[in-house]
């Protein structure tokens, strides 16, 4: 049986660069068609509620905004045992559950993924309520998508390049919160002016 693979984007799309993880998995899905045994998930800020998806995965690839102290937009990929270390400092929304705790909870329940990869992007601005991704972070999405493709290839997953990127209405996020609609509206632009 094929190994179960989970490609997970986490973060809050309403908080500036905090949206990186979700926007990256959205872009990845628009670009590649994936076989049945691969699940793409917009995990949002679900924290501990993601534990069941992590438990089901043999291999787990995560996109997230991580503060590595690097230049904004820099991608850094960490693997396996190093993943919890980097996800520990990042508190997700669900009662400040770090992703590290989600991994710990999966471990405690006896279902820890055997392969882990984290594609982290250094954010510039995490505090712009209602704001868009900043330029450097938006600019890193294409490279993050390519990096994910390479990791999945190494894991034996056949990502099929779509002839055309998937139309927004078929994408992971709909109802005006897909990346393009979310950022192109006046409301989102005005949010920038609203900052302290």
């Amino acid at each position: 049986m094929a190994r179960r693979v989970l490609v997970l984007g986490i973060g809050n799309i309403l908080w500036g660069d905090e949206g990186f993880g979700v926007r990256a998995v959205e872009a990845f899905h628009r670009r590649y068609a994936l076989p049945e045994h691969v699940t793409l998930l917009d995990g949002g800020t679900q924290g501990l509620y993601l534990v069941q998806y992590v438990r089901e995965a043999d291999d787990l690839l995560v996109f997230d905004a991580i503060d590595y102290g690097l230049a904004p937009g820099t991608l850094k990929i960490v693997r396996d045992g190093d993943v919890p270390k980097f996800t520990g400092s990042k508190k997700m929304s669900l009662h400040q559950t770090g992703f590290q705790e989600v991994l710990s909870a999966a471990d405690l329940l006896g279902d820890y993924p055997s392969r882990l990869a984290l594609i982290g992007c250094q954010p510039l601005d995490l505090e712009n309520w209602g704001g868009p991704l900043t330029e450097p972070v938006r600019g890193a999405i294409a490279a993050a998508v390519t990096a994910a493709h390479d990791i999945l290839l190494e894991w034996g997953v056949d990502c099929v390049l779509r002839a055309e990127p998937l139309a927004p209405e078929l994408a992971l996020l709909k109802h005006d919160i897909d990346h393009q609609s979310y950022e192109s509206r006046r409301g989102a632009d005005a949010a920038g002016e609203w900052r302290d």
Binding site: E18, Y49, S89, S93, L94, Q96, G98, L108, H175, G187
Partner: protein, 623 residues
């Protein structure tokens, strides 16, 4: 740099500040209009952040020479930008945005949002849509209550480390004496204890790392602790079943779909498969999940509450406003489109000044009833002695510390509650600070004499040998949540049966699209949607102009409970609940966590704490 980071970094720096204790000014105390005597002359204890909650909350208290809390100050971050994000967007998409405000109340915000839009546009939903929405809302209620109790609150009563020294045989005997739940053999507990030992010995306390293990404030014997830890893990495993109901009716999870005018799922009873319209196969799955959650409530959650309650029943602090002023909007309409009190299965009304014999009606549209004040909040109004109704709400940030604050704007050592001190506004009902949430709902249901609320409450009190007054406590709040989870399970059974009967009678309608097109809408209109979120009364107020959102205001439950003082000097529910609680050791503020957690706070609706070392243990400063 924004204020949020200031608060968080400020917190981290407090511990290093090593500021000399400043001689507190003596004070005879001040009486608040809502019946509390505040005395800030004793030493100040700062807990920042309060962990295992949604968002960022800081609590400061003053304790007297016996370590009893005599003044309480709570301050938090709160989502405050939704009106800006939603301005000019399509009202039919607002639910998708509000679903993203928060990682916990996703579906509740979405439901509140579609109700607000339907109210503004005069859209009636089909009966099946009402039943399905109730099933989704009640499933969220059960899910949230179970996860809150086991994963966020139980560890305030249960000492995980003590569980390591339990005797598995005695644990089994204890478990079997209180419930017929099958997972209770000595072998089961022995295996679990071994697994827990291995986990703790590997150095990764993981979800258990934020605890004051070994504190004298913990009272359960090791066996009860081991049983509770077992149920912690079982609940973590079981919660995934409950959310399948959201996947079935909402198309996906997390972030299920909602629809203005009904629900987004069609019904095709003869269909097959796990995708597409709702068919018999999937209804059968819902049916079986409802049975399972009823059993979990009956055989695990309720017995655990009773077991913990029996060992803490003399710890009846934390009542705060619950016996004085409580508010519920009501929810779970029996029939579609009727939001009057008599049609709502969760009670609606306001009790003030402890008068349980008088339930006041609540009107979300009346500008004199629900108002938000900012006298002590970091916002600016033209006239801050007055409150604003949410339809006229203004959110203009204004960050300044009071004259007696210690530290700086970027490094707050002590807040000055005499000035502005929180990002949370202060909502009031006819000028009264109100508690909202499961206990508020159950107090109102109890006061109305409705048997479905009164009888379970009386049974719990009777079985624990406690008077009615014991209901107004931290433990009462925790017990009310459990009773509500049980009640919600039974209601799910009711609405499931109703849905199936209606489908069998040939009614397959799930959506009303008559007013879907904006050209059918009035040029200008406004509406309000309300629900009872797991943590309390939630409402969204919307103004629509030319087919677009003109104004959108959310007043969320934790705004009510976590509110700062108002111009009259009333303290909010969190602050009130901490008053007069004795602390075993102010450096280990377990009592504060226990009571604040009992509200199931949900603050920032999204926050991100980036402490460099990943350490999230609260900083506690006693001075």
């Amino acid at each position: 740099m924004t204020q949020q980071r200031i608060l968080q970094n400020g917190a981290a720096e407090v511990a290093q500040a090593a500021a000399p204790a400043v001689a507190a000014t003596a004070s005879a105390g001040v009486d608040t209009p809502n019946g509390f005597r505040l005395d800030n002359s004793g030493k100040r204890v700062v807990v920042d952040p309060v962990t295992r909650i949604e968002g960022h909350l800081r609590v400061e208290v003053n304790v007297d020479s016996d370590n009893v809390i005599r003044n309480a100050v709570s301050t938090g971050t709160m989502w405050r930008g939704i009106e800006v994000i939603l301005k000019n967007r399509d009202p039919r998409d607002a639910w998708a945005f509000t679903e993203r405000i928060c990682g916990v109340c996703t579906g509740t915000h979405a439901l509140t949002s579609v109700r607000a839009v339907e109210d503004a546009l005069g859209i009636a939903i089909p009966e099946n849509a009402n039943s399905i929405r109730n099933l989704m809302q009640l499933a969220l209620q059960v899910h949230d209550h179970i996860v809150h109790f086991y994963h966020l609150h139980a560890l305030d009563w249960v000492d995980v480390v003590s569980a390591l020294s339990a005797d598995p045989k005695a644990t089994s005997a204890l478990a079997q004496s209180i419930s017929s739940w099958p997972l209770s053999s000595p072998g089961y507990y022995k295996d679990l204890q071994t697994r827990l030992k291995k986990f703790v010995e590997s150095g990764q306390l993981g979800p258990f790392k934020n605890g004051y293990w070994g504190s004298k404030a913990y009272r359960l014997p090791p066996e009860a602790n081991l049983m509770a830890v077992a149920h912690y893990l079982e609940a973590l495993d079981f919660q995934k079943e409950i959310v399948k109901i959201h996947t079935i009716f909402g198309g996906k999870n997390p972030h299920p779909n909602w629809l203005v005018g009904g629900v987004p799922c069609a019904i095709n009873i003869d269909g097959t498969g796990a995708v597409g319209a709702i068919n018999m196969e999937r209804l059968n799955l819902v049916d079986s999940i409802i049975d399972q959650l009823i059993e979990f409530n009956d055989k695990v959650y309720i017995p655990d509450i009773m077991a913990i309650g029996s060992l803490y029943k003399d710890w009846l602090y934390g009542g705060g406003l619950s016996g004085k002023s409580v508010l519920a909007y009501g929810d779970v309409p029996e029939h579609a489109n009727d939001y009057t009190d008599k049609n709502l299965l969760l009670p609606r009304g306001a009790i003030i000044n402890g008068r349980l014999d008088e339930i006041h009606p609540v009107d979300h549209r009346d500008p004199e009833e629900i108002q938000e004040f900012v006298t002590h909040s970091w916002y600016k109004y033209g006239d801050e002695t007055r409150g604003l109704h949410p339809w006229d709400g203004v959110t203009e940030p204004h960050y300044e510390l009071g004259p007696n604050a210690k530290g700086t704007k970027t490094n707050i050592i002590e807040l000055d509650e005499g000035g502005k001190y929180s990002w949370i506004k202060a909502p009031r009902w006819r000028g009264h600070a109100m508690e909202v949430g499961p206990l508020a709902r159950w107090v109102i249901g109890y006061a109305q004499g409705k048997p479905q609320f009164k009888e379970p409450v009386e049974k719990v009190l009777h079985d624990l040998g406690l008077p009615t007054s014991a209901l107004f406590s931290t433990l009462g709040r925790t017990a009310a949540r459990a009773l509500e989870s049980q009640w919600a399970g039974y209601q799910m059974r009711h609405f499931f049966d109703k849905l199936v009967a209606n489908i069998k009678a040939g009614d397959l309608a799930t959506a009303n699209v008559e007013k879907w097109e904006p050209k059918s809408w009035p040029k200008e209109t406004k509406g309000v949607g309300f629900t009872e979120a797991p943590r309390g009364a939630l409402a969204h107020w919307i103004k629509i102009k030319d087919g677009k959102i003109d104004n959108y205001q959310c007043v969320v439950p934790t705004t009510w409970n976590g509110s700062p003082r108002d111009p009259a000097g009333n303290i909010g529910a969190f602050e009130a609940s901490l008053m007069n609680t004795p602390m075993v050791d102010p450096a280990q503020p377990l009592e504060i966590l226990r009571t604040i957690h009992s509200f199931d706070p949900c603050l920032a609706c999204s926050t991100h704490v980036m402490s460099e070392d990943g350490q999230e243990m609260a900083t506690v400063q006693v001075r």
